[in-house]
Amino acid sequence: MNCKITDFWRDLKTSPINTIARWQDARFLWIVMAAAAMMLLLTAHNLFQHYVYMAPCEQCVYIRFAFFCMVFGGIIAAIKPSQIVLKIVGYILGFWGIIQGIIYSIKLNTIHHAAHGDDPFGVQGCSAEPSFPLGLPLDSWFPDWFLPTGACGFDNPIPPEGVEFSALQQWLIDFYSEGWYLIPSMHLVNMAQACLFAFIVCFILLGAMCISWIIRDLFRKDNNQTLAE
């Protein structure tokens, strides 16, 4: 009975905190978090980087790292969400990835504006080489995923010369010729802003899960205490 979506909604309306807390005790939401982050990563790597030849910039590979933290957080918690240690590791990795991601996205947005505008001031410039959190040499371990090969602040496709592309591939290359935008013709919502939006949505969802869990379990403790008295 509980599997029905309508029941889920009814539960959520009548006692939201207990319902969300119960959900984060189950695997589903954790798998959703890992899968959503993995899907974005695969889109960036397989579609944009390899198929459309948009080389990743420095902040872009940091953003990938942030999404990977969420993937691992989701997987670890999903092993057994009722196990408190695994769940805490999931929350820590998830929140850490999201917060890092928000910082990187804001920085990328600033760089993007400086790189595309007339005013080059106010940004730090382009790094000589990437530096990942904890000093992880991800760029030498997995260069295909983490070595920034694009110019900082730019993500327009740079297809190799003298290669024939399929119609779809050519269309995508032309469509994003001035870089990735949600609506390229209007230069509306760049990659940094889209990532920022994704991280903020994740932050709200994971935040709701975490807060519901804390509130429910604190109350439960209070209840137990009153019962004991």
């Binding site: 400086a114 790189a115 940004v123 410039g125 382009c126 000589a128």
Partner: protein, 219 residues
């Protein structure tokens, strides 16, 4: 009325603060390992693959440094190409060093001289990389083509001979610390007197940059 005066006073203080002493850690970084350069030298580290270097060279570096050299004629300005960045970083450095060595031989001291080969080399590769999106996938020979044309060199053997010459080797050696400098906060990087690295992020305008460089030259 009081409020107006207060706001005015506040603005004056703010302006005074901005114009007043620059601070280590805020406006510039003191290098742990100073560069081995003469006094009054300003060094710029750049790579032709770096979009902000291109942006600075198009609109910032020349007017700023020209102003500084006008105010302080005893100062001198050098540009160091970063060999480690990009697939053809070292090849780029070799081309730039050969161009610069020839300029020096020809008596062209200023890197802004419109007859200078270095200036031509720099902008040729900036434009190829950023405006035409060239990446020279077919290899080194393809990369060298435009550079050889500027230098009037017809074979790679001739070029390699020139790179091996003591003047060019000396320049390449001098540019080597470009890498540790670039690692600190990225490029373009400006170092004054071999000791003070400008905080690029804090640079808000050309005038600010002139003031900061002159302040650090005096330090």
């Amino acid at each position: 009325m009081m409020l107006k005066r207060k706001v005015g006073a506040l603005l004056i203080t703010a302006v005074a603060l901005l114009g007043a002493d620059f601070q280590e850690g805020v406006n510039y970084t003191k290098l742990d390992q100073p560069l081995n350069v003469e006094k009054n030298t300003i060094v710029k580290v750049f790579s032709f693959t770096c979009p902000f270097c291109y942006k600075y060279d198009k609109a910032v570096t020349e007017p700023v440094i020209t102003q500084v050299l006008k105010d302080k004629p005893e100062a001198s300005f050098e540009v160091w190409h970063l060999y480690s960045k990009g697939k053809y970083g070292q090849q780029g450095s070799n081309l730039m060093a050969v161009a610069r060595a020839r300029d020096i031989k020809a008596g062209i001291t200023s890197v802004f001289d419109k007859h200078g080969l270095l200036k031509k080399m720099k902008f040729t590769y900036y434009k190829a990389y950023h405006d035409k999106n060239q990446r020279w996938d077919s290899g080194e020979d393809d990369f060298y083509k435009a550079g050889f044309e500027i230098l009037g060199i017809s074979s790679k053997a001739d070029f390699e001979k020139e790179v091996a010459s003591p003047e060019v080797q000396e320049l390449l050696k001098r540019w080597e610390p470009a890498y540790p400098i670039a690692k600190i906060q990225g490029i373009p990087a400006f170092v004054v007197n071999g000791k003070y690295l400008l905080k690029t992020q804090a640079i808000k305008s050309r005038d600010y940059m002139v003031e900061l460089v002159e302040y650090l030259l005096k330090k």
